[in-house]
């Protein structure tokens, strides 16, 4: 298949500002293909922002992103995205099946409608996360764990090679958490690269093989055994770098 040392995601000097206030400074990472990466950092560290700017959902103000060696735009279909749960309107009139089908829209263009092949892919994805029996439910009539599974199914149906997931473990029960971890490992076995925003430090050391420690800037990226150290974690969580965030505040007022 692909060479083992291929780089799935590479960012260089990726910088993001919201209304002139910098929230991410010059992020350089190169994520080897086939790894399961935990993105870890305190609240407001810019974890969601990192994922969104890689996806191009928020514009970056500097630097570049490459996916499997090409600019993001050219490789969009190879990237799957699972948004944070709060960002979803759960009253929206769509069913579980509708959401899973959205994963297949990428290959359809604007006008073509999903057909048999797409429906099968969506069903298989739902089956994999145990949500097929709920296909016709409106998404608001599900528990938090079930809702998370539906959005995982959508990502699976995309059949991408790189996945970016924002806090898939928030608001889910223990059984779902275990099921998701199993699924993530399975995806890695099949050669997928998965990056997961996670905020429980304890389990981060167990779930992932690589960690990306983030707090406005990149603290460290590497194999768990190299970066899951008290010093680096302290550096990540030991408060904001006061000067960095003060300067950011001043920049916002310019």
């Amino acid at each position: 298949m692909k060479p083992a040392d291929e780089i799935a995601l590479e960012t260089h000097d990726l910088t993001v500002t919201y209304h002139k206030r910098p929230v991410l400074y010059g992020i350089d990472v190169a994520v080897p293909s086939g790894s399961l990466v935990g993105i870890v950092g305190p609240n407001g560290a810019g974890k969601s922002t990192f994922i969104k700017s890689v996806m191009g959902v928020v514009p970056s103000s500097g630097g570049w992103v490459k996916v499997f060696g090409k600019p993001m735009r050219e490789n969009l279909p190879r990237v799957g995205y699972v948004p944070q749960r709060e960002s979803v309107d759960w009253d929206f009139p769509v069913t579980v099946m509708d959401v899973a089908l959205m994963g297949t829209y990428g290959g359809l263009g604007l006008l073509r409608r999903p057909g048999k092949v797409e429906k099968r892919r969506a069903s298989e994805a739902l089956e994999k996360v145990g949500m097929l029996p709920y296909s016709n439910r409106q998404i608001g009539n599900l528990s938090g764990g079930q809702q998370q599974r539906v959005f995982l199914a959508r990502a699976l149906a995309q059949d991408s090679d790189l996945y970016l997931m924002d806090e898939p473990f928030v608001g889910v029960d223990a059984a779902t958490e275990a099921a998701i971890v199993t699924l993530l490992r399975e995806m890695r076995e099949r050669g997928k690269t998965v990056m997961v925003v996670h905020h429980d430090l304890q389990s981060a050391g167990e779930y992932f093989d690589h960690l990306l420690l983030l707090n406005m800037r990149l603290v460290a990226f590497g194999a768990v055994k190299d970066v899951y150290t008290p010093e680096l974690l302290q550096k990540t969580y030991g408060g904001r770098l006061t000067i960095l965030s003060e300067v950011a505040d001043q920049a916002a007022k310019l």
Binding site: V57, M102, Y105
Partner: protein, 445 residues
């Protein structure tokens, strides 16, 4: 090419009815369809205020059309109106983008400015703009064949575009970030949406009027939203409601002298909405109230059952019967109230009354349910003290609520998790309804 166009034009003319009421009905159908369709997206994207702003913003366009088109060609008026509406929408976006203002403030400013400008301009040109009242408050009777032709073409464009783009437009409304990830041209689609929104406003303009067009965008779609959880059904229902309120409002205002069409149509839409607001099966108010009442009554019944169980437990399960008076004392309520509760339990087969009518005993079903409730309560207390580190005297209140909603699956998980406990945190035994095999009302252990 020219032949095609003239052929199409004659086809369209064939569709236009001759009679005045026929024209009014057709106008109502067109405006109901276009506003109903677009309205669904307006409601789901939460841009109702944007609809309002666009509809007010078209006024200067209408005035310009009336002034600059000598023979009042509807095409010119429509064009100017649409241009003004789009300009308004663009200004709103520009303001949001360039300042820290959120959409509501930006919309409010644009709406008021355009509307005020339109009114001022109109009053400086009174004789050129005689028909402006029709555009302000709507007059379905003033719609003639050439207006209808314009409305028909606009509605056709709108419906066809919507038909082909409904999936991407829906995707965008649901999750704009994901749409970007799919490679959708998000900016262009947003532009298309605001184009269509302006079109639907312009279609409804002469029948409903600038001031109330947004009612046609929002009210039918909102009613449909309360009625269904399926998008396609919502589209259909919304169109049906839009058409229905257009026709009924148009007819009423034609019958009653001096009633402007717009307000009557808007109010018929509101009437429809009101009915659905009350009666909708899942999201309606009455069904919500009924659900709450039913839940409340069930909780009362279960609490009474629990009280009976606790009386038995207090006596060491020595007696078969419990008197209504004892029950009233235990529940801290009047005898009359408890008698009513007992009737409810009796009719559901949870208890049997003795002949004297003042004492009762639990049926087998009653024992089972009572034990379940007490078990749920005590299991939950145990769970909170053991697993969630609650203090022993803090758990009762919470368990009072949770006992009524614990499902069997969760109860099994709790039992396993707590390793099949026998005593609650206060040392009281946790009943085992599963062991209830004897026919007698005396309880095991």
């Amino acid at each position: 090419m020219f032949e095609d166009v003239s052929f199409l034009a004659s086809m369209i003319d064939l569709l236009i009815p001759g009679s005045g009421s026929g024209k009014a009905i057709m106008a109502a159908v067109l405006l109901g369809a276009s506003c109903g369709l677009l309205g669904c997206f307006v409601v789901l994207r939460r841009v109702a205020l944007m609809g309002d702003a666009v509809s007010h913003a078209v006024l200067p366009g209408v005035v310009a059309g009336l002034i600059y088109s000598a023979e009042r060609s509807p095409g010119v008026i429509f064009l100017f109106a649409a241009a003004a509406g789009l300009l308004g929408a663009c200004l709103v976006r520009l303001m949001m983008f360039s300042t820290r203002l959120k959409s509501d403030a930006a919309l409010g400013i644009v709406l008021a400015t355009f509307f005020a400008f339109g009114i001022m301009w109109q009053s400086r040109n009174q004789q050129d703009t005689v028909g402006v009242m029709n555009f302000l408050f709507g007059n379905i009777g003033s719609i003639d064949a050439s207006d209808l032709r314009m409305m028909l073409v606009t509605t056709l464009i709108l419906v066809v575009t919507m038909f082909f783009l409904r999936r991407p437009l829906l995707m965008m409304s649901f999750d704009e970030g994901f749409s970007r990830g799919l490679g959708y041209p998000v900016k262009i689609l947003n532009g298309v949406f605001y184009f269509l929104l302006t079109f639907s406003v312009v279609v409804a303009l002469q029948a409903v009027g600038v001031v109330l067009v947004s009612a046609m965008l929002i009210t039918p779609a909102a009613a449909a939203y309360l009625l269904t959880d399926r998008f396609e059904r919502m589209l259909i229902l919304s169109v049906v409601f839009g058409v229905a309120s257009g026709i009924s409002g148009g007819l009423v205002s034609a019958e009653v002298n001096g009633l402007p069409t717009g307000p009557v149509i808007a109010l018929s839409a509101t009437l429809l909405f009101g009915i659905i607001y009350l009666l909708a099966p899942r999201h309606g108010v009455l069904s919500k109230v009924a659900r709450t009442l039913r839940r409340g009554m069930r909780v009362r019944r279960e609490n009474t059952l629990k009280a009976i169980y606790q009386i038995h437990e207090g006596e060491g399960f020595a007696h078969e019967e419990v008197s209504v008076l004892m029950l009233a004392r235990k529940r801290g309520q009047t005898e009359e109230k408890v008698n009513k509760d007992c009737k409810a339990l009796l009719s559901r087969g949870f208890i049997e009354m003795a002949e004297d009518g003042v004492s009762l005993h639990l049926s087998r079903l009653g024992w089972k349910r009572a034990m379940e409730i007490v078990r749920n309560h005590r299991l939950w207390e145990l769970y909170l003290t053991n697993e969630a580190d609650y203090a022993e005297d803090h758990v009762h209140e919470d368990a009072e609520k949770i006992e009524h909603i614990l499902e069997p699956g969760i109860v099994r998980q709790l039992e396993q998790h707590l390793d099949f406990p026998e005593l609650d945190p206060h040392g009281k035994p946790i009943p085992q309804p599963a062991h209830l095999v004897t026919q007698s009302s005396v309880v095991p252990s």
